[in-house]
Symmetry: C2
Subunit: 337 residues, 2 copies
């Protein structure tokens, strides 16, 4: 592992995007979001996914000229068409719109069809929290796991992110409906590491700690067995209904994952109770939470997002951790001889 300054990382990412013709404020946003994922320790959706993202722009699978468009409006609920544009841009735009709707109506909801991979769902829930809103968003995906009771991948892992705003640092839960996200399995496989708990089955149908075996068998375990399996199905149906877009089984008929459906919900938490009262309430919840007797005396009990905030602070102080090979590959991407 190597450490590089956040701005250097962000600049390099932008340089590559610009080299394929994506060179405006939306490209700056994408460079920043990829850099932020890496900064926050979300290595599953940082540098390791960037080459694939650039490839999508280069081969015109993703249209970086497209801007999302509102297609229907029902007051606090809107439908937007992502027009096969850049997933990160569409996502940020739609969460921003959900927040504007929440400002007007207390709660706002945007269904987004025809969009592409948003990388890290937590980005957009945090975007809402930064502005004092409760943020909730989820996406569907192509088929990535078998439903409970089946050996055949038929449902998405449909990540969902939820954030609660707090001045001192937001609570952020960002979870795929598989026990480990595909990105996480890929990263651990690359590092030659085992999972801490079984994350799926090997090709013989036995539970395994080996990320590579799960990627091969295509049988990751749903979170909480039948519960995560059910939740994945419900989130997919809701995303398709609210956005009017594709559901997982439609996406799976394509040659790759694109034109997915997403939902963005914002709730105006600071209007409900004011920032000071909100901070006090959340602080009291977390203070009590932190008194929970830990299983391991050397490790305190952490709320969702707490570890991320630590990593972020460390990244900003000492530089962002990057895999040396991935960093070298980034430096060499699209440089003219």
């Amino acid at each position: 592992m190597k450490r590089v300054p956040f701005q250097t990382l962000s600049d390099q990412l932008y340089r590559v995007l610009a080299s394929v013709g994506f060179a405006d404020e939306r490209a700056l946003l994408c460079a920043r979001l990829f850099a932020e994922n890496q900064r926050d320790g979300v290595y599953s959706h940082g540098l390791n996914r960037f080459p694939g993202f650039v490839e999508g722009l280069r081969n015109k699978k993703i249209d970086f000229h497209a801007m999302p468009e509102k297609t229907e409006s029902f007051g606090a609920l809107e439908r937007w068409n992502g027009k096969m544009g850049v997933g990160l841009v569409n996502a940020q735009c739609c969460m921003q719109r959900a927040m504007a709707l929440a400002e007007a109506h207390g709660i706002g909801c945007v269904g987004l069809s025809n969009t592409n991979h948003w990388m890290r769902g937590g980005t957009y829930a945090l975007q809402a929290a930064e502005a004092g809103y409760i943020g909730i968003c989820w996406t569907n995906t192509t088929t990535l796991m078998p439903p409970w009771g089946s050996t055949e991948k038929k449902i998405g892992n449909n990540p969902m992110a939820l954030a609660v705003p707090r001045t001192e640092g937001h609570i952020l839960l960002d979870m795929a409906m598989s026990q480990y996200s595909n990105g996480k399995l890929e990263v651990l496989k690359l590092q030659g590491k085992q999972l801490p708990l079984p994350g799926g089955y090997d090709s013989d149908g036995n539970l395994t700690l080996e990320p590579g075996e799960i990627l091969d068998s295509e049988r990751p375990l749903p979170v909480g067995y039948w519960k995560g399996s059910g939740l994945a199905l419900v989130l997919d149906a809701m995303a398709a209904i609210i956005s009017g877009g594709q559901s997982t089984h439609n996406i799976a008929q394509q040659d790759s994952e694109y034109a997915v459906s997403q939902v963005y919900i914002a709730i105006d938490a600071t209007r409900l109770m004011g920032q000071a009262a909100l901070d006090e309430m959340v602080a009291a919840i977390l203070a009590d939470f932190h008194t929970a007797k830990p299983l391991d005396e050397n490790e305190g009990v952490r709320y969702p997002g707490e570890g991320m905030l630590r990593t972020r602070r460390e990244s900003l102080e000492k530089g962002v951790s990057v895999d040396e090979k991935q960093w070298q590959a980034l430096l060499e991407m699209h440089t003219m001889p």
Copy 2:
């Protein structure tokens, strides 16, 4: 097990409620909801919980004269005070209100403070689905499980219910954030049955299939380990913020679980796409889902709520299954000599 006609069951439940002075249309509603839980096979929240519910009415812990009251309004988002009234009545009222808000604004959200146990969360999500809305609701509870990495119960199991409307039968996911709800553990313990998969730890800290051991150790396993633990915390914080009511750590300071906080969200799905198109979309999702190769050739893969619909049909045809002792106890409750 014995079978009794739905109406007989409902009548008996109402008779007991009336005997403690709770004798109006809200009491009829409660009798019906308890009977429906039993009818749908949700034995964890049917007859087994009824004596405790009646006890709460008798000893005036629950005020059956109280009606919930709107305290704040922000357009599509409202706060209601449950005034320590009957949880089932408050819940139904607030989901109805969320639906009315959704009719006006596309989406509606109600935060309910100061309410009591709603019994089965699925009831209210189904209430929304029956009228063509996507229904989402959750509740906080007192401390019922340790967060991931701790041995001390500090978080609620905070059940959440989600329903997707469909003419042929709604999709319904009703899940506590523990792998098994407390009610389920109680029912299986009573039946002398083991859990199909580990649901928590025994008092020595080993994973166990014995429901009684988990009830004793007070260490149920969160759904998906750290994920369900995180989700429980986030749902609690959101419920407290949106409703302005108590969070789990406040409730845990009382001598028992009352004055909980809940959230109700409705989304006007039929207005988004019309009933026929909605039915077609959900049918296509489920048709593809049902083609998943089952692990056990004798058991198809089921969507959330599918098993319940089967049980409901059987209950309506052959009578509702009741535990003979519980049924006898109901017949003998509050009969004057």
